[in-house]
Amino acid sequence: MKRFNCPLVPILLFTVMVSGCDTSTPVAIHFEPNGNGPLASVRASTILVQVEDQRPSAERDSVYQIAADIGGTQTFYTKKPVPVIVQEALLSELSKCGHRPVTDPNAPVDVRVRIVVERFKAFLSTTAFTYTLEAQIDAEVSLTNATKKTTIGPFHISGNYQRKSKSHQVYPPEKELSAALAEFVHNLAFDSRFVEGLQ
């Protein structure tokens, strides 16, 4: 009988997808507004939302980084510019909470919200038996209440997503960055300083 040696015998412990080629992969970010919480309890206002991008240049090139230098130069980019993604997410949340969000800086408004995005990225790191994928959104937020002539902030708000797994495949981190964006908007909408600035 012909002896059969399985080519997978050297112990198949991990399944890892590694792409060694030079490609750019789009990442689609999804956001579903919640529409409840403190934002829905405060008086409806006209709110200007402005978002600036102050991320490090390395993070602008790719929103996904892998801890080990695995070769290749695969980059991941968002289909829309990151400031637009953050702006649209907050606009939809404010709108669902009953406010009138605007983006025209010349429009008469009750409150101006300025968000400076400092981080918008996913990061994959490994140990011998665990893969950790983190998605993080950090921003500095300030509010100017035109009615009350007060300014609150700047203060930091973060939205994170973290997943630990025993096996991993490299894919566009859409679910992870979308989850971090949802946490970011949630943490902002539930932050007492933000709510105070709108009142």
């Binding site: 490090p56 930091h156 932050d191």
Partner: protein
């Protein structure tokens, strides 16, 4: 010879100590099962149990319990990039990945096989960097001793929940309540990890960290039934060189306690504004 063609006959080579096709197949099956089991061990942050409308309204009296699993931790060296020389696991993956991926690019993700030798090397790398982090964390011991994570969290939750005026009473407990009356709820906040995190290889290389915590908040109703559960990785969002935390006497304490208060305020608001 295959299992299907001759299930009952003993393979001729067994008695001679050679590899059996049955064993080969079993090994492949075990490997696949192992991957499936590993894949099932995932843990992530986010909402585990969605709060149903009206669930919080049934609670008159709320007890708050905070537990802290671990002492201060530092994750800095562990986040540093692994060079190919340091991590044979990665090296193996690259070689096989670059070999396989063009073939499978149209039909699915490429699979990479990693040898036990690679795993051992990766474990050694992990151990070395964990030891380095533990050594550096020791330098913060005197500063960490002044940080009262549990009481800070308890006080922040109590203040926010009492101010919410949603419950008749809000009290803290140190021991989990096994059975609770119908109108009593329990908020359990479990802080699984807290300390300084590097979060990215750029930060790790620059020795930059931020304060943060991993925690799970669970709201339980009558009989310990879970009403809401949310796992968080909550950070300050302010990245600083680690030396700043060493040189400024109260910086670590202030930021850690502030981040804990912010996290607790978010949890309390979740309950306060529950539908």
């Amino acid at each position: 010879m295959s299992l299907s063609s001759n299930k009952l006959a003993l393979p001729e080579t067994w008695s001679k100590g050679a590899a059996s096709p049955i064993f080969a197949e079993i090994r492949v099956v075990l490997a696949v099962l192992g991957i499936a089991i590993f894949a099932g061990c995932d843990t992530d942050t986010g909402t585990k149990k969605v709060m149903q409308p009206g669930a919080v309204s049934k609670i008159d009296d709320l007890t708050v319990q905070v537990s802290v699993d671990r002492d201060f931790s530092l994750t800095l060296a562990a986040a540093k990039p692994r060079s190919l020389k340091e991590v044979p696991l990665t090296f193996t993956a690259v070689r096989l990945g670059s070999l396989v991926s063009p073939l499978l690019s149209d039909s699915g993700p490429p699979v990479v096989v990693v040898s036990p030798k690679s795993i051992a090397a990766a474990k050694e790398w992990d151990a070395q960097h964990a030891a380095e982090d533990a050594r550096r964390a020791e330098a913060f011991r005197s500063k960490v001793a002044e940080i009262r994570i549990q009481s800070t969290a308890e006080n922040a939750l109590m203040d926010a929940l009492q101010a919410a005026r949603r419950f008749q009473t809000v009290t803290t407990v140190s021991v989990p309540q096994r059975a609770s009356p119908a109108c009593t709820g329990t908020l359990w906040v479990r802080i699984e990890n807290w300390g300084l995190y590097a979060d990215s290889r750029e930060n790790a290389v620059l020795d930059q960290v931020q304060v943060g915590l991993n925690a799970t908040a669970v709201l339980m109703g009558a009989g310990g039934k879970r009403i809401w559960e949310h796992a968080d990785y909550f950070t300050s969002g302010i990245h600083r060189p680690i030396t700043e935390y060493g040189s400024s006497p109260d910086l670590l304490k202030n930021e850690m306690e502030e981040t804990t208060r912010r996290y607790c305020a978010t949890v309390a608001n979740e309950i306060r504004y529950a539908p």
